[in-house]
């Protein structure tokens, strides 16, 4: 386990890895990494045990973050990261069946929580009380009905071995989620479905870590809602950058790497 004081640096190292993965393409799902860096840092450094637990990355667009985090804890060969998104690579830009280092991901949104329920149920049927299921879910996915079907199922079936990490970055393809669908109050919705909900600043990595600890001990399915931004932690990005699919031309990529390396120095 990595001490808490290093979690912020862990998050920035994930950002740096993601910039390096996206840079050769000139654009990509960098915003997902920028918003979820502290969530992945807390989860991978302090809670998720690769050989014991299951990890679901529900929106396949976040697979970049799972690759960066898995490489950071030595669960994925970091040399592979250079192949991200290139022809013939198993590290496709949107997660697929080929994606290493995760138990389930996919590009058709909102199916991941159902898969996580399946894993949690299978663990219970096998009498496995040690392993846990962690599912990274995005706020845009809350627009899909299937996610709420899964939320109902998890609570009714008392899947207390299931923890959702929700990246509430208020970003979807057409713009801010809040401008398209009113999801608030998010925490109250989950609570009314029978879940324990912890609503935190998703860039306060210690708060995320603490909330994950409470979620694991909640005695029922629990969600940690991290309030985040798709441009957090990279000040060189231009005003109004499209967080869903960030353009990263060569000069901007160099400036981003320089900013992150300076902060990590």
């Amino acid at each position: 386990m990595i001490p808490n004081r290093d979690l912020g640096r862990f998050a920035d190292r994930l950002r740096l890895r993601a910039v390096q993965m996206v840079a050769p393409h000139g654009f990509g799902y960098l915003g997902q990494m920028l918003s979820s860096a502290e969530l992945f840092a807390a989860l991978y450094a302090r809670h998720y045990r690769p050989e014991t637990d299951r990890i679901v990355i529900s929106p396949g667009h976040y697979i970049i973050a799972a690759y960066a985090a898995a490489a950071e804890i030595g669960h994925l060969d970091e040399a592979l990261l250079e192949t991200y998104g290139h022809d013939g690579s198993s590290l496709e830009a949107i997660g697929t069946e080929k994606s290493p280092a995760v138990d389930l991901t996919g590009g058709s949104l909102s199916q991941g929580l159902s898969g996580a329920c399946g894993f949690a149920l299978a663990l219970k049927m096998a009498g496995n009380t040690d392993s846990r299921v962690y599912a990274l879910v995005s706020d845009g996915e809350l627009e899909e009905g299937q996610l709420w079907e899964a939320a109902l199922f998890a609570a009714h079936n008392r899947l207390d071995n299931l923890t959702v990490l929700l990246d509430a970055n208020d970003s979807q393809v057409d713009g801010p989620v809040s401008s398209i669908t009113t999801l608030e109050p998010i925490a109250a919705k989950w609570e009314s479905f029978g879940w324990a909900a912890f609503d935190v600043d998703g860039h306060d990595v210690e708060a995320v870590d603490a909330a994950l600890g409470q979620a694991v001990r909640a005695g029922r399915p629990a969600v940690v809602i991290g309030r985040t931004s798709t441009v957090h932690g990279l000040s060189v990005l231009p005003e109004g950058a499209d967080g869903h699919f960030i353009k990263l031309p060569e000069e901007l990529a160099e400036a981003a790497i320089a900013e992150l390396e300076a902060r990590l120095a």
């Binding site: 389930l104 996919g106 159902s114 898969g115 399946g118 299978a122 899964a150 109902l152 199922f153």
Partner: protein
């Protein structure tokens, strides 16, 4: 082969699944709220610890089944055909078929066997499932075939869609009938016309063949329970030895058995005419009972006979379909 009217049995699928699950501990049973109608109240009573009630939430049910399969279970997922295919189509594609997981999707009440109107009539489920890579599609004809099919299906490495009649299930085949995932079966020989049928249309094809034989048209009947992968070898073999091929399915003529047969015949350059019995690109409607729907949408024995008669350009009136005379608890095709 037994004779019409056929005796019927109740819950042959539910009993066969229970019998299989006694031996096969990996089997888990998922329901979307039509438990008794899908005959799995038997499973619920016998193996409650392996029975998962997903509620009326088919999308979640199918995606969960995929994850359960990843953990070594063999999930059987149940609903009416409309709700187990149309509604969770994207989940079947992404959570089950693309990962090629051994999930068995069971859809009851095919085609116009439901008088419940278009919402309940699975008329394109075979087409939807057939279009998905990795998916195997099975439409069985009777209680014997159901019992023989389950132990074969359970070990198939990828996903399977199993289409089943609801309610009283006829007993058509003898007990030594065999089910094969790779071979269609010539169940009645003839050398002039070939009728290719499955599911609820098989008994109508048999009745039609008997009437045609009596009228001097030697008619072969081929049972094609596995629509995908289609046994192209048998289909082409009988087509090459026929003046006319007629397919019969309780489904749209688009995308099902008729389409599958047309594809392999056309690609092989087999030049005999083909007629397809099925719903002709139309929705049906609600009714009090199903038989009037089979008649109205031309899914009856007489319709098969008429298709053969016109397909062969025979003069005069086509022979009449044998009279349907089934007592309560018996079954005869329309």
């Amino acid at each position: 082969m037994r004779n019409r009217p056929y005796a019927t049995v109740l819950k042959p699928y539910g009993q066969a699944l229970v019998d299989l699950a006694r031996e096969r501990r990996e089997i888990v049973c998922l329901t979307g709220d039509l438990t008794r109608q899908c005959e799995i109240d038997l499973f619920q009573e016998m193996f409650p610890e392996r029975f998962i009630h997903a509620g009326m939430a088919e999308a979640n049910m199918v995606s969960m089944a995929g994850a359960l399969a990843r953990c070594g279970h063999i999930p059987f997922v149940h609903s009416f055909g409309v709700f187990s295919t149309r509604r969770p189509l994207d989940q079947i594609v992404n959570s089950v078929a693309y990962p090629n997981l051994p999930v068995r999707i069971v859809g009851f009440m095919p085609g116009v066997s439901s008088p419940g109107g278009p919402s309940h009539q699975a008329i394109e489920d075979v087409a939807l499932m057939r279009a998905i890579p990795n998916m195997t599609v099975v439409d069985v004809a009777d209680a014997v075939e159901i019992r023989k099919a389950l132990p074969v299906i359970v070990d198939h490495p990828g996903p399977v869609y199993l289409r089943l009649k609801r309610g009283e299930i006829p007993v058509i085949f003898e007990d030594d009938h065999e089910f094969s995932m790779t071979k269609a079966q010539v169940i009645r020989d003839g050398d002039h016309v070939s009728l290719l049928a499955n599911g609820m249309m098989l008994s109508a094809a048999i009745a039609a063949a008997e009437a045609l034989d009596t009228a001097g048209v030697s008619t072969r009947v081929v049972n094609v329970p596995v629509i995908k992968p289609l046994d192209a070898g048998t289909v082409l073999d009988v087509a090459r030895r026929s003046k006319l091929v007629v397919t019969a399915e309780n489904h749209s003529i688009i995308g099902g058995l008729g389409s599958a047969v047309a594809e392999v015949m056309a690609e092989a350059g087999v030049g005999c005419p083909l007629r397809r019995i099925g719903l002709r690109d139309t929705f049906a409607e609600g009714a009090r009972t199903a038989p009037p729907l089979f008649r109205k949408y031309k899914l009856g024995t007489q319709d098969i006979i008429d298709a053969v008669w016109s397909g062969l350009s025979r003069q005069g009136a086509a022979p009449a379909a044998p009279a349907v005379d089934a007592a309560p608890g018996e079954y005869a095709p329309v």
